[in-house]
């Protein structure tokens, strides 16, 4: 299955979840948020939210600067 992660195409297994997509970019969990098709998926639902072909995944990192 092909999904876009932060704008770059990735080939993931057909049963890949949101967590799997995050792991493509980082093994960090704390301080990371992820949006699928422009909607943030809450942390507690990363494992239970499956991805679909052509989903757009955006992995965001918290920054502290002000």
């Amino acid at each position: 299955m092909n999904v876009l992660i932060n704008g770059v195409p990735h080939d993931l297994p057909a049963d890949a979840t949101v967590r799997r997509a995050v792991q493509e970019l980082t093994s960090a969990v704390a301080g990371v948020a992820v949006a699928v098709n422009d909607e943030v998926v809450r942390r507690g639902a990363w494992d239970s939210t499956p991805l679909s072909e052509h989903d757009r995944v955006e992995v965001l990192t918290a920054v502290q600067g002000g």
């Binding site: 704390a30 301080g31 942390r43 918290a62 502290q64 600067g65």
Partner: protein, 392 residues
């Protein structure tokens, strides 16, 4: 989703005020009623730095009646590249005083309240209580989580913004109508994983890009116009020149604003964020690995020397297979160094990543330049590598 105005209108505008705010008054959506609401509004800016500078200046010019400034810091020459509320002659002056002087110069009709203190769990509730709306322009995770928690506990909306290099994010967090910061980011990145602006740099004008979004949202909330940035995260990329937004829902499991909150009062934010010294932060920047990366190193049979810098009793509760226990104190006293092999890569870990970052600073200073520490420590190991292990 539009929301009702946050503030009731003031009784009237003076002749001076009508002249000054005429370009607002002739916008039908703002008009006399909107400007009177701004006059009655009390807005607090937390931090008179990069984001606080444009925020305070535009809020002042817009005619917000009462503007509070919280900052304990003094103006440094390195601030002037982006903190435009301060000038050359303000170097060495308290930021809150300097910012207040600029606000008075921009608009003498504004009542400025100076809070020349560090925001702490002892004063944050009292300070916030006097305001309708808070603008978060702080520069560290510990204060950001404290601002969020205090705002949620007081039922107040706040406008969050954060910046790094060319990237900015902003949102309005108002638990009554949408998510809070913890719904988006349940906890901060481990110490050392994400550099601050002091370590990684920030494009000066980025402060204006994000600070002006914050002011824009403040005016909308105060006057009840437009679509507020509640339940949406605005993401700005200055290099691509793109503003995008993603939807953020309230997390029913949020420990603060969810259905069964476990955080019902302020907590220890330094401990929560694993706040560490500048030296440790510096050592950890670029030298922090994740627990999964450590697991991969072990699986590949890499030549590493894994050191657990916690205390004996903690080691007995849970430990990472193969780790040698050398408590952090032994590093600070210098006696640990002779136990480190010269020919192996040193990998340090503790419970959450704060102590190992401190020990890392010592180890790197002693010449072990490729040493790293594990962000999130053994807690992260349990979470991501071996959930069967106990945590404490």
């Amino acid at each position: 989703m539009s929301l009702p105005p946050l503030v009731e209108p003031a009784d009237e505008l003076t002749v001076d005020e009508v002249r000054r705010y005429s370009r607002h008054l002739i916008i039908p959506d703002v008009g006399m009623a909107g400007q009177k609401r701004l006059k009655n509004a009390k807005v607090l800016c937390v931090g008179a730095g990069g984001l606080g500078s444009p925020a305070l200046m535009y809020l002042a010019a817009a005619g917000v009646g009462t503007l509070g400034v919280v900052d304990f810091d003094v103006v440094d020459e390195s601030n002037l590249q982006r903190q435009i509320i301060h000038g050359q002659s303000d170097v060495g002056r308290l930021k809150a005083e300097s910012a207040a002087a600029s606000v008075r110069e921009i608009n003498p009709l504004v009542n400025v309240v100076i809070h020349n203190v560090a925001l702490t769990t002892d004063n944050v509730m009292d300070i916030f209580a006097a305001y309708d709306l808070i603008v978060d322009g702080t520069d560290n995770f510990a204060t950001r989580y404290m601002v969020n928690d205090a705002a949620v506990l007081l039922g107040k909306p706040y406008i969050w913004g954060s910046i790094y290099r060319f990237d900015g994010q902003a949102s309005v967090f108002w638990a009554e109508h949408g998510p809070c910061y913890r719904c988006l980011y349940p906890e901060p990145p481990p110490p050392g994983m994400v550099p601050s602006c002091a370590e990684g740099g920030v494009l000066g004008v980025l402060c204006a890009s994000i600070g002006s979004v914050q002011v824009n949202e403040a005016i909308k909330l105060l006057t009840g116009i437009g679509e507020p940035l509640v339940g949406r995260l605005m993401i700005y990329d200055a290099l691509e020149m793109k503003y995008r937004d993603v939807k953020v829902r309230k997390d029913p499991e949020c420990p603060l604003c969810g259905k069964n909150p476990t955080i019902t009062e302020l907590i220890d934010y330094e401990a929560f964020c694993g706040t560490i010294s500048d030296e440790a932060q510096q050592a950890a920047t670029g030298s922090t690995i994740t627990a999964q990366e450590l697991k991969d190193m072990i699986d590949r049979d890499e030549d590493i020397f894994l050191v657990d810098v916690r205390e004996q009793n903690e080691y007995e509760i849970v430990n990472i297979p193969g780790a040698v226990l050398i408590p952090k104190g032994d590093f600070l006293r210098g006696v640990a160094l002779e136990r480190l092999p010269q020919d192996k890569k040193i990998v340090l870990h503790c419970k959450s990543g704060a102590r190992s970052a401190e020990a890392l600073a010592v180890v790197k200073n002693a010449g072990f330049s490729d040493a790293v520490h594990v962000g999130g420590g053994v807690l992260s190991w349990v979470k991501t590598v071996d959930p069967s292990l106990p945590t404490y």
